[in-house]
Amino acid sequence: MRARLPDREGVITRCGVRVAFEVFGHGEPAVLLVPASPITHARSWKGIVPALARRFTVITTDGRGTGRSDRSHQPERHAPAEVTADLLAVLDAAGAGRAILVAHCHAVPWALGLAADQPERAAGVVAIAPGMAVAPPYPYAAEAERRWADPVDEPAGWSMRNRHFWRHDGGYREWVEFFFGQQLPEPHSTKQYEDTVGWALDTDPEAMIAEREGRAAPAGREAEALCRRVRCPVRVLHGSDDRCQPVARGRRLAELTGGDLVVLDGAGHLPQSRDPVKVTRLITGFADTITGAPMPATTWTRGRCRPRRALYLSSPIGLGHARRDVALVRELKQLRPDLEIDWLAQHPVTAVLDAEGEHIHPASQWLASESAHVASEASGHDLHCFQALRRMDEILVANFMVFQEVVEEGGYDLVIGDEAWDVDYYWHENPELKRGQNVWLTDFVGYLPMPDGGEREAFLTADYNAEMIEHIERYPWIRDRAIFVGNDDDIVPDTFGRNLPAIRDWTTRHFSYSGYITGFTPPEPGQVAALRAELGYRDDELVCVVAVGGSGVGQALIDKVVTAYPLAKKAVPELRMIVVTGPRIDPAAFPPRAGLEMHGYVHRLYRHLCACDLAIVQGGLTTTMELTAAKRPFLYFPLEHHFEQNFHVRHRLNRYGAGQRMDYATTDPDLIAAAITELAGQPVSYRDVETDGAARAARLIAELI
C-alpha cells in the first residue's frame, strides 16, 4: 500500500505523447519532482513525497517512456526541449505557476534548462546526483558511451550500456541489475535495489535507447553557460560514493550556479531512496529558505518550566501492543505521577486509547495506516509479514517524518516505542535526529525465513538482522533502554542467520527482560463464576469465543470456524459461539447464522477470554498469551508465512505448554468441530504467566527520568 495517495492524477498530451502526473497536498510553494526517466519514474520519490506533501504542493511525473506515460521510441521525441515542454505543461495542468524543481541525475539538465529559459516558473532547483557534464565522467562511463553504438562481444559491467546488448534477449534486464547494484553501494539496500530494478523494467529497451540517443545533453562550455544562466537558488545533493556521476560534477554545478553543495558522505547515486529522511529535510530547508516561509505562531517553553513529558508509540498492527502499553503506562504513572504522556497512535490502537481516556497527539492524524497496509498484504489466512514489513518502507518513513516533527516541537523527555519500527530504524540511520531518552520494547527479536522462501529469503532476513545488529553496536546510545517483553526462555534457539550471533545470547546482552505483560490480572479459579455471570454466560453452556485480534486479517478463519459451528453444535448442544471480528472487520459482512453471535470491537476482550470454555484464535502473541495466563483451552491457527506467529509465538506457547496449534490449510470444518468437542470446558495445565510484567517494565523506564 502507498503511504499517501495523490489528491489528483492527470495526463498531459503534447504532439500525441501522453505524460502522466500526480499532485499531492496544497501548500506553498509547489515542488515538482523530476525523475531520470525513462529508467525510473514517479514512484522513485515515494520515500519523500508524503512528508513534503504535508507542507507543499508536490507534483510528480513519470516522464516520457515509462510508468503511465507513453513509450516513445523516436529519439527526437526525447529531445531536451520536448521534456522541458512536458514539465511546463505538467506545471500548467497542476495549476502551479512557479515551482521548486527537484531533479535527479540526467533530469538535472532538463530542470536547469527550464529554470534558465523560464525563470518565472522556477523558484529554485534541487539537483540530486546531477548528470551535468561540467566535469569529466567516470572513465568506465565514458568508455561505454564511446562504444554505445558498436556491437560488443560478451559485454560485462559498464560495457553492457550498449544499444545492441539492450536489444539482445534479456540484455536490458542484465544491464539494469548490474547498474543498480553499482548505484546502491550502501549495505543493506535490498529493498531499494528491488524497487529500482522493478521501475527500470517498467519501460522497454527501445524507449531507453531512444532516450539515450535523443538526450542531447549540453556538455563542456555549453553546459557551463547553461548553469550560469540559472538565476534562481540552487542546492546540489551528491553522494560521495556515487558511481554514476562523480562528485566533481555536483561541486562544479554548485560553483557555476552559486548554489550550495551538500555532500552525503557514504551515500551512493540514489540518496532519495536510501536516505529519504535526510533528503526530505534538505529539500524542506531549501524551500523554507528561498520562500522565506512565514513562521507559524509557536510557543517555546523555558526548560525549567516544562512538565515531564513522554511520547508513546504503540505498534498499530493488531491490538496487543495497545493493551500492554496501557497497562505499562498505568504503572509508570504510579512511579512518576507528574509525567504527562501523549500518544502518537493510529487505529486500531486509538480505539483502546480513546476508551481508556488517554491523550492522543493531534499529529496522529497524519500517520499513514500500517494496519491497512498489513490487511492489504494478507490473502485469506496468509500474511507474509516479513515481506509486508519490507513493503511498508514508504509508510514507515512517512510516519517517521511525522514523529520527528512532533519530537522536535514537543519537548519530550522520553520516547517509548513499543515496536515503533520507524523510530528505531530511522534514528539509527540518522542518529543526529535523536531527541530525549528512548525506550524500545519488543516481544520478538530476529527476522526468520519461512522454509519455502528458500535461499533468497534466508539471505534477506539475515541481511535485515545484520543491519539491526550493526545499528545497535555502532550507536548504543540511540536505545537508552531496550526491554524484551518476556523472558530469555521465550527466545527461539535460532541464530540471526549465517555467520550471525545466536538470538538469545545477543538479546540477553542488549535487552532487559520485563517478563510477559498481559495488561490484566487473570481471575482466580473461584472468581470465574462471578465474571461469567457478569458477562451473561450461564453455567450450563459451553462458551466458545472466536477472535481474530485487532488487524483486518481474519475473515478467512472466521468463515471456516463459522462453517464448523453447526457441526459442533450438533455434537455439543450446550455450545454457545461468540465471534469477535475486531475493530477493523465489519461483523455485518458475514451472513447471519442462527445461534451465532457476531461482534465487532469488544473493549477489554480479555475478560471474555478469561471466562470462556474454549477460544479459537489466530497465532498472534497477545491473544494466545491472554488465554495462557487465564488458563483456558484454545485452538490457534498461525497465519501462513507469518514468521512471528509460526516461530516466535509458537516457541513461547510451547514453553508454557499452552494451546493446540492448528494448520489452517489442512484443517476442515469437521476437524474444527471435533477439536471443539474434545477441548471445550476441559481443564488445562499451563505454566503460570507472571502478573508483574507491566510493573517491572515501568520500573525499567522510570529509572531514565
Binding site: 529558505t289 513562521m295 517555546w300 523555558r302
Partner: protein, 288 residues
C-alpha cells in the same frame, strides 16, 4: 573578555550628537540590532553578536544617552524620530544598504518608524518583547507617576523623574529585577545594573520625557504602513510590558508570533539560544 570583538568600532556624529556603533562579520543579510532604551547600551546584545556575526553582518549602536554615545540634556533630543534618524545614520556610516531590524522593548517604536518610513532599507523586523504601547500598562504599573514628586516611592512608583535624580541606583536595582523574572538570573541582573549605572538618572529622565509623547495610535498608523515580514517574540512572564503587547503587535502587523512560555522582558539575554535560533531562521529568509 568578549566572545567576539567588532571589526569596526566608530562614532558617527549626527545633528551634533556622537553615536557609537560597532560592526561585525560580513555575511548577508545585514542585521541591525537597535537600542532598547537609554538605560542600557549595546552590550545587552552580547549573547547574540558572536553567533549572528558568523552568519550575517551585524551592526549595533549605543542609543543616545547611553554607553559611548552622547548624552544631550534636553528631552527634545530623545524623540522617536531622533532614534530612527540615528539608526539610518549608523546604517549609512557602516555601509549597510538594507538590513533586518531586531529590536527589544522601546526599540520597537524606532523599528516601526524605520519600517514605515524607509521600506527600501528594511528587509524585515524582529520585535523582542516590544513596547508598542498598544495595550494599557500592566496593572502593577498603574501606580507610576513619572513627573510627580512622591514621598517614599516604592516599587513601580520609583519609575519617577525626581526619584532618579537622587536615587537612580535604587531604581536600577528594582527595574533590573522586573526585567528578569526568571529564577536564577543573577548574572543577567548584575549585567543590566552595571550597564545602567554607566549613564545617570538625569539623562534617563530626559530620554523618558520625550518618549511619553508616543502612544498606541502612532503605533497603529505605522503598523498599517508596514510591508515587510515581521516576527514578534514575547515571553509570558514579561513583567515590564505584558505578553498581550506582543500579541497585539503581531496582530496589527500581520506578523508571526513566537510565545516564550515562562520568559521575562529580556529573553535575548536570558534565553539566548532560543532567541538566536529564531533570529537566524528569520534572517535566513533574506539571504538571497
Amino acid at each position: 573578555m568578549r566572545a567576539r570583538y567588532p571589526d569596526c568600532d566608530r562614532i558617527v556624529v549626527r545633528d551634533g550628537v556622537g553615536i557609537r556603533y560597532e560592526r561585525y562579520g560580513q555575511g548577508r543579510p545585514a542585521i541591525l540590532l537597535l537600542p532598547a532604551w537609554s538605560l542600557v547600551h549595546s552590550r545587552h546584545w552580547k549573547m547574540q553578536v558572536a553567533y549572528l556575526a558568523r552568519h550575517f553582518t551585524v551592526v549595533c549602536f549605543d542609543g543616545r544617552g547611553s554607553g559611548g554615545s552622547g548624552r544631550p540634556p534636553e528631552p527634545a533630543a530623545y524623540t522617536d524620530a531622533q532614534f530612527a534618524s540615528d539608526a539610518m545614520a549608523v546604517m549609512d556610516a557602516a555601509g549597510i544598504e538594507t538590513a533586518v531590524l531586531v529590536s527589544v522593548s522601546r526599540g520597537a517604536l524606532w523599528s516601526l518608524r524605520l519600517c514605515a518610513e524607509h521600506p527600501d532599507r528594511v528587509l524585515g523586523a524582529v520585535f523582542v518583547a516590544p513596547t508598542a504601547l498598544l495595550m494599557p500598562p500592566l496593572a502593577e504599573r498603574r501606580v507610576q507617576r513619572f513627573g510627580e514628586v512622591l514621598d517614599d516611592p516604592v516599587g513601580w512608583q520609583t519609575y519617577n523623574a525626581h526619584y532618579w535624580k537622587t536615587n537612580y541606583p535604587e531604581f536600577v536595582e528594582f527595574f533590573a529585577g522586573r526585567i528578569f523574572t526568571e529564577p536564577h538570573s543573577t548574572k543577567q541582573i548584575e549585567d543590566a545594573i552595571g550597564w545602567a549605572l554607566e549613564t545617570d538618572g538625569e539623562t534617563l529622565a530626559a530620554a523618558d520625557r520625550a518618549l511619553e509623547c508616543s502612544d498606541g495610535s502612532a503605533t497603529r498608523r505605522l503598523a498599517a504602513r508596514l510591508a515587510c515580514p515581521v516576527l514578534v517574540i514575547h515571553g509570558t512572564g514579561d513583567a515590564v510590558r505584558g505578553y498581550y503587547e506582543g500579541e497585539a503587535l503581531a496582530r496589527c502587523t500581520g506578523g508571526a508570533l513566537v510565545t516564550l512560555a515562562g520568559s521575562g522582558h529580556f529573553p535575548h539575554a536570558r534565553d539566548p539560544v532560543r532567541v538566536n535560533g529564531l533570529i537566524k531562521k528569520f534572517a535566513d529568509g533574506f539571504r538571497r
